[in-house]
């Protein structure tokens, strides 16, 4: 029993010392660059998705106009605006995620509580950006 407790304590101590240790600058730079590239790809994907969705929604409006159906035009136009807002929101969130990923990787250069504070700040900024994207919809 005594031995088990000692082992658990040792394991906890190892974990605590392993946490919040700074990474070597070269490794941080590599991870930041990787995060930046992934983020840019995600933002580009979100833009492409939004463009495609908008084109589809606009076509529905154009079809309703061609049918001279005023009610359908109003409905499709309303839906197209929703699609546009949704796409815009997704792009903003993808950008916020990309920024967050880069910010967190940069925090890895710091150590201990400085690293934790850095990550907390990045998380808060990300939450605020997501909230703003929802409000602006």
């Amino acid at each position: 029993m005594h031995l088990k407790a000692l082992c658990a304590l040792a394991a906890a101590a190892i974990l605590v010392t392993a946490c919040n240790k700074s990474e070597p600058p070269a490794e941080v730079a590599r991870d930041v660059e990787k995060a930046r590239a992934e983020g840019q790809r995600d933002v580009a994907d979100a833009r492409a998705d939004a463009k495609e969705a908008n084109a589809g929604a606009d076509k529905q409006v154009a079809d309703a106009i061609a049918d001279h159906d005023d009610d359908a035009v109003a409905k499709q136009a309303h839906d197209a605006n929703e699609t546009y807002d949704e796409g815009k929101s997704k792009i903003v969130i993808a950008q916020a995620e990309a920024d967050h990923r880069v910010a967190v990787e940069k925090c890895e250069a710091l150590e201990g509580s400085a690293q934790k504070d850095c990550k907390d700040r990045a998380n808060r900024a990300f939450d605020e950006a997501k909230q703003a994207a929802k409000v602006n919809r």
């Binding site: 154009a62 106009i65 035009v73 109003a74 136009a77 605006n81 546009y84």
Partner: protein
């Protein structure tokens, strides 16, 4: 002596031809890179038809109709602007708002809403603010 003179004249004539031919080629090359006169000076649009800058293709017209419908939907969906009869016209992505509203808030809200529609390049707000008397 006469023979030498004749040969000298022949050589001079040949040189002259070569220089002239070179000049002609340069001139032709220069001319060929220029646009034809018709392209440089396009014929004016026939009377009653819009000038080239104002011309709109069928595709543009459809796009503009879609933009107009979307702007109208935004205005109708909004709490501030839905109370007004706002005319919307779109030409090549530029939206023109006209009619009247009774507050500056409604006027600027209409601009903001129209700007936030996909495909809108610019908004020209001609809305009149009509103050209600009492």
């Amino acid at each position: 002596m006469t023979h030498i003179l004749t040969r000298a004249l022949l050589v001079a004539a040949a040189l002259g031809c070569t220089v002239m031919a070179g000049c002609t080629t340069d001139t032709e090359r220069t001319t060929s890179t220029r646009q034809p006169a018709a392209a440089r000076h396009p014929a004016p649009a026939p009377a009653g038809e819009p000038a080239a800058a104002d011309q709109q293709t069928a595709g543009d017209a459809v796009d503009d109709a879609v933009v107009t419908a979307k702007v109208k939907a935004r205005l109708v969906d909004d709490e501030v602007t839905k109370a007004y009869q706002i005319n919307v016209e779109t030409f090549q992505g530029t939206v023109q708002l006209s009619g009247s509203v009774d507050s500056e808030e409604a006027r600027s809200r209409a601009t903001e809403l129209a700007r936030n529609v996909g495909g809108v390049k610019d908004v020209k707000n001609s809305l009149q603010v009509r103050r209600s008397d009492g």
